[in-house]
Amino acid sequence: MDLTLLSEAFIALFLVISGIFGLVGSFGLVKLRETMQRLHAPTKATTLGVGGVLIASMLYFLLVKGSLSFHELLITLFLFLTAPITAGFIAKTYMLHRVSREDLPSTGRDYGWALYDAAPGKEDDGNDQP
């Protein structure tokens, strides 16, 4: 069997896998009912969905073009640095608007959640309260 065909089939497999996960993530956005639940679907699709494309791209350059490419590793690195931050921003904005502190479980500490309560020693600032 032709080696190029084999490697191309391998690359295509990764592309299809990532496509499926991207589709499921987007479907989750439509199907789930609450913002906090919806937040789960896209943050997940990016990890495996984009990961699959990146693996396919690396394999393509390695097997078909015969050169090593590092850009994909960097994209993974930057994605992993930025994805949690975006998710955190969306979650916090939503919580300030729609979730009251009574809906949340207790911190188990002397202080409340940082979103609603000031840090120890900063109580009299009060500027960051919505």
Partner: protein, 163 residues
């Protein structure tokens, strides 16, 4: 002398590798430029790392990354199944309080990022004294079990790496 010249070896190495990755070609010129960046940038930004944590066990850090990658794959499939086959009515989302033993801000940041990246859980906010972490869970039959998994699987490993 070496510690003076290279105050943050890990950052220097990361900068060198990122630079080589960006230009995507290892040539002597690029290597030299990457080394220069690795030397100059940590010196300029030293003021922003007042008490940076030291990586005690690089191998443990590598093991942590491997565990997280594996969990991302497994949990992705898990969440895909929930989205596709679980009716919304059966979905039990919940908030979980994770008490933290980690104290270093960097370690807590890594833990929070890991929780968000592993599907099914999103870390949202810290307690005001950074003693516990609020996590939203897409679907959990047993919230306490999720909390225990996070503590045993991620936090205990990070404790070994950072403290």
């Amino acid at each position: 002398m070496f510690a003076r010249l290279v105050p943050h070896p890990v950052l220097s190495l990361t900068l060198l590798l990122v630079w080589l990755g960006l230009v995507n070609k290892v040539t002597p010129g690029n290597l030299l430029l990457g080394l220069a960046l690795g030397l100059v940038v940590p010196l300029i930004t030293a003021a922003y790392w007042p008490d940076r944590p030291t990586l005690h066990r690089p191998l443990k850090a590598a093991e942590y990354v491997a565990v997280v990658f594996w969990d991302i794959v497994v949990a992705n499939i898990h969440v895909a199944m929930i989205i596709l086959f679980k009716p919304n009515a059966n979905l039990r989302s919940c908030w979980i309080t994770v008490p933290l033993e980690l104290t270093s801000p960097e370690a807590i940041t890594v833990l929070a990022g890991t929780i968000t990246l592993t599907p099914g859980t999103v870390s949202t906010t810290l307690a005001a004294d950074a003693g516990s972490l609020l996590v939203h869970c897409l679907h959990a039959e047993d919230p306490d079990a999720v909390r225990d998994t996070i503590k045993a699987r991620y936090e205990s490993r990070l404790m070994e790496v950072f403290q």
